[in-house]
Amino acid sequence: MTTKPQLNDDSNFLPGLAALGLFVVMAVVFLQAEFGAPEGFPADVSIVASIGYAMFDISADQLQQQIVSAEGFLAAFLIMAIALDVAIDAAVYLAKREEAGEVVTALVEDVRSDDPTSGGEPSSGRGPAARADGGYDSSDASSGGDR
């Protein structure tokens, strides 16, 4: 019988050795690598302002201010916005569940139970399915997202 306290853990540490190996390899490589001195940023330039302009593709010649150069990120910004929107919709969709024949969802609205457009779910009570799974539906998605 052991007296020592034991870690209540079901982990298998053997695969962790792979991570350790990866670290060793990377460390060796990094230490062998030659880097010159970093350039750094000019002292009198606002980094945050530079990032802000970079996000919206505003180049230095449109401004009076001195900024650090960067690539344009406007397209990435828009794509990211859509990705986040999709992510939240997906999360809501995934969180939907069914309990005793009723759909329980984060987006509950007072929808008429006799809605003819409602889907295959039996609409007893308050949770018709048609709007509930509308996380993908464009009209519902926008309204749900705004809320």
Partner: protein, 687 residues
Amino acid sequence: MVGAFDFVPAIVLLPFFSFLVALFLGKYMPKGGALAGITATAGSLLLSIWTVLTVAGFTGTATTYQQTLYTWAGGMEGTPLPYELTFGLLIDPLSSMMLLIVTLVAFLVHVFSLGYMNDEGETGLPRYYAGLGLFSASMLGFVVADNLLMAFMFFELVGLCSYLLIGFWFREEAPPSAAKKAFLVTRFGDYFFLIGVVAVFATFGTAAFAGDGSFPALAEAALAGEGGGDVNTLFGLDPQAWFTVVGLLVLGGVVGKSAQFPLHTWLPDAMEGPTPVSALIHAATMVAAGVYLVARMYGFYALTPTTLAIIAFVGGFTALFAATMGVVKREIKQVLAYSTISQYGYMMLALGSGGYIAATFHLMTHAFFKALLFLGAGSVIIAMHHNENMWDMGGLKDRMPTTYYTFLAGSLALAGIFPFSGFWSKDEVLYEALVHGLGGSPLLLAAWAMGLLAVFFTGFYTFRMVFLTFHGKPRTDTARNPHGVRWNVKGPLAVLAVLAVVAGFINMVPVAKLTGLEIEFLHDWLAHGPSGLTSEHYSELTHDYANYSVGTLVGGELGTALISGAVSLGLALAGAGLAYSLYNVPEPVEHTDRLGSAKDVLFNNYYQDEYQVWLANDVARGISRGADKFDQGVVDGVVNGISSVSLLSGSRVRRIQTGVVSNYAALLTLGLVALLVILGLQGGWFV
């Protein structure tokens, strides 16, 4: 102006139409379609005569004709095919002469069939006449072909028709078997022929027989050192060696069709067919096709001395070999079958020894007298109620005199007795072999000696046949009261008998040499024609490339010709005389027992059939069994082995897919580490 040449396609097409008519309408017609065939072949005969006269120059200047009728592959804009495959006509002295022979014999055979088939009440006559028509059409198409591929196609058609006709009585046991044998054995030779045709195309890019761009002309140019770049030899052989290979490949088809050793075994069995068919096959069409092919492309063969020597030697050997087998046969048609093989051996001997004219001459005379003999045998068979055994005959001379005298004329020609046609042609064959052999080609002397010896056997078996059939006393009741024959049998016999007697006079070389008269008509006939297709050109070629020169015995050319003729005539007479003393008695008996053990060998045809059956059964089957084992074991084994390896490894390796995401992550990590290490080692990151 419309000339004879415009009607040359009709020569081929008329028998073809008779084939169609007999096939589809024959049963509604009187005589089972015979009249259509007779009309068609008669038309072809008339057109052929006109063609010959045109070629000879009786209707104006002497002329020849070469025309491409139809290009069925290649030759159009944008086709990737480097060759043109065509149907065309080539009418020159050789082919027009052959046209005449073929149409004449086909016509006479059709007429004779009225007596042999219709009067005997055979069934299936439309099929029979359709076969005859197609057979004639194929052979005529072969004769007029202007390129090797077209010739090959009609060559095959001829083989097919022979199969159909030999197996005409398919309800009996032997004919279908004989038909299959004929088909398979000739097909074995044709296989080489086909490869030869492809080789000719690959080498020369054309298969035309005549003209400046023809393959014999290209081959000659290549060997003469001009334009060798146009010729692609294969396997790194020099042109001479490669042309020999090509020539031998084509020769395979010739050996099969012309029943030369060792592919002669089908011909005696082919006697199972109706006798008029035998006459057609052995006199004018199928068997002649092989020799005709060699003559047609002689400009190519003349360039390769090895091929010529092989042709001559095979021919001489076959002549002797078949003649010895002929001496013991009991059936009249069997004797004729072996004599046919033997006579075609002579033609090959002539071709191989540079005697292009002699071969053509013998081809012509043989066509007449052998057709005569077969038809005469057919007449005898009618009379004997389809009993072919000569030992049951005897004494038919007095009861069927027309058949007897015509048959006798054919036999004298076959045996080579002066002055019948066979004497002149056989004499010229042997003379050519002798003088070229003396002129420095000792191999030809060996072939000549075999051919000369065969003359003796020919005389013996021919007259043994005649004496047993027609002389002595009748040995059976049937022979005492033979069935009569009508005009449709006697007519063709009479025509052919006249030809068998006089056909030799067109080329009496010894007489011409003796008297100095210009009576070598066949020489003159074959000496004109398209350049490159004349006998003079061929003799130049054999002289230049095969080093055939003329050597003589005492007395110069004249003396040699006379000595040669006298020797062969003497041997033929000796053979005939021996047959006379043995068999021209009232009650002849078999003398074969005196041959001792040789008798069995001869009766069994030198065990050629057994040996070929052994080849097929034991050797070929053993090889195919081995090949099957190899296929099942090694080829299939490799395939199955590979599949089982991949199945097994697949069933093991798929265990990697555990479905546990941690394992995947671990594998990814390990893979990344391994990749980094490899890249690092290669890129020198760890130095």
